[in-house]
Amino acid sequence: MSMAGRFLGGAQDRLLPAAIPFRFFVTAAVFHLLAWMVLLLAADEVAGFRGGTGPVLAAIHLLTLGTLAMTAIGASLQLFPVVTRRALTRNWPGHFSYALMLPGVALLSWGMALHQTTAMQLGAGLTCCGLLVFVALTANNLRRASSIPVVAAHGWLALATLFVAALLGVLMIWGIELNILSNRSGLAITHLTLASYGFMGSLILGLSLVLIPMFVLSRSLPPNPGWAQLGLTALALLVFSISFVSEFPGLIWLALIAGFGGTGFYLWQMAKILRSSMRKRLGLPFVLMRASWGFLILTLLLVTAYLAGLAIPNAVSLIGFVLLAGWLLTFLCGVLQRIMPFLASMHAAGKSGLPPLLSDLTAEGPLMLHAVCHFSAVTLCGIGIVADQSLLIRIGSALGVVGAAGFATFAIIVALKVRQGPRTS
């Protein structure tokens, strides 16, 4: 607990012990590095990937569960209590969730890479238990929410879609052995959609309504556009899932229209926030976040083109790559490089005086290296997938490894500064 928190007493303090969010964030940075490394090793299989176990699937899960979900959990545990104005009732479930997720994701990815069904089952079991602890902890907090209901409602949608996505994932892993699934590709696409647009997307759309104004120093938004964004996103996810599981493809156009609508409301609100910003220089994090919004639009356009029958080579791989590495990874790297020094400064704050400057708690060189390598990696891999050129994907993945190493260096530097402990004043 921060000095300020101790001074004020526990009831008003919603700042978690630094170990909880930072443990998730540093682990996310390490899995990020591993994901690019595995992609580099599997470069020949990326363009033609259509599902199934192997190193590409392992790289996908190192990214989605290891990096994206770890970041989302760490950020949610810290931010939802601020949004809901209700402190987490206990800290140990956060530690417990991490203790289950870490070996779970490692084992699951290892099993996927080497086609080891038992390892996958065990890894999936541990990961799902870790996610379930997070769902229970967050649901308990959201249930007691007394502030900003539109953000809390996004949290509920995220938890619901995470639950279904995890269930489908487990079903597919068990289905490999039992051979019981007739519509495996439909389930896989629904699993990916609910996990990415559903869980991660709902969290990003909801928490952006608080985080982005806080980052740029802009007033809170009126709630109605946020409700419209939520309603359209939920409709898109529901109709998309029904269309794939029921093999009734006509519905997918309705889902796409709703998806474009939800995205439109979101980006309109983000533009409004940026226009009224009190902060003059938004810096590198917002270069990444703005680019990620471009990738979000690109994924929807690619899905539309694919469904309309346009001949995009390796369209499925390309859409998945732009969705995960383009939109979600770029956005979360932008958020993390803004929020980690911010949290570190808050934890170092005393009951009076001046906390450390944010500029003293970051590492600009490694972050610049990451940004340059990340954008180069996404571009080269994207072109490599369309052109079916393994060499381009290999070079792109190698740049991704270098960028991820830069980001991990930043994360470790900030975490070490937090470990030095709060200033006394």
Partner: protein
């Protein structure tokens, strides 16, 4: 932004008071930072919150303002803000 600054404020003998209680996040942050960045502001600012404004502290440091928590109160959290010497 001056017409849109959230919260209420008044001048008293001990400095400018800014009351952000009841505002949703991040409006308390925006209100306090708006007041301390006004060109004529160099005296103490007494900020009233209904919760610990932990997210404000790094922003104060960036602007060279120090803070001091007031005595614990069940109804509010009070910070006295001054330009750092």
């Amino acid at each position: 932004m001056s017409n849109e600054v959230p919260g209420t404020y008044w001048m008293a003998a001990d400095g400018l008071h800014v009351d952000t209680r009841g505002l949703p996040p991040p409006d308390p942050l925006v209100a306090v930072l708006w007041h301390i960045t006004q060109p004529e502001r160099n005296g103490p600012v007494i900020a009233h919150f209904d919760r610990d404004p932990v997210y404000l502290l790094p922003e104060l440091a960036e602007r060279g303002w120090s803070y001091e928590y007031g005595a614990p109160d069940s109804d509010e959290v009070r910070l006295t803000l001054r330009p750092a010497p």
